[in-house]
Symmetry: C2
Subunit: 115 residues, 2 copies
């Protein structure tokens, strides 16, 4: 451990097995990366709005577009991000694709509500 650090911090740190001890308790890189990706998908107002809209009811892309008032291709981009994060899923129904929250999406929307 570095020599020059505040005493109370050093003590507390040594009780945990030093820096090594702390490092050992942290999640692995893989896990951190996966979670960061999830949160990154949530890090955009438009995408949050899509999630809230789908929490009301499943919607086809064209209705989501109406709700958000954005272009088709812009919407498609954001839907892709949400799909990749497994927060939403679409299934074909006639000529439309109906999007809805996944189980993860549901959990996440409930979580977001607390912040």
């Amino acid at each position: 451990m570095a020599i020059n650090i505040p005493d109370p911090i050093r003590k507390q740190c040594e009780e945990k097995g030093g820096l090594e001890g702390i490092i050992a308790k942290l999640p692995e890189a893989r896990s951190l990366k996966a979670r960061a990706k999830l949160f990154q998908a949530l890090g955009d107002p438009m995408r949050l709005k899509i999630l809230f809209a789908l929490d009301e009811q499943p919607l086809c892309a064209c209705l989501i577009r109406e709700v958000l008032g954005i272009s088709d291709s812009k919407l498609s981009y954001h839907l892709t991000v949400l799909k990749q994060a497994k927060l939403i899923a679409g299934k074909k129904q006639g000529q439309w694709i109906i999007y809805g929250l996944t189980e993860l999406g549901n959990q996440v929307v409930r979580m977001i509500g607390k912040f």
Copy 2:
């Protein structure tokens, strides 16, 4: 409401007062933006790691740097992002600045643990 949409979706939508009804239930732009900003701060593995480390115990910047193995200025950048999101706060103690989770930071770390 758009004329051409799948029937079950239209029905469900009309029960809610049409698109207007759905739009009315969505959070305001201000609120969406604020939350997006919070999640954006969480959208980076290094920053998540910092939060987990501080969840173990408060640490001075130099120890966080040791834990992460990154440069001073890089660390400082990420600390700034976390500070701005009010997830962490630092207070001077002697020659060091000791960082710790805020109350929000605490709640958030507990939340992250579920995903």
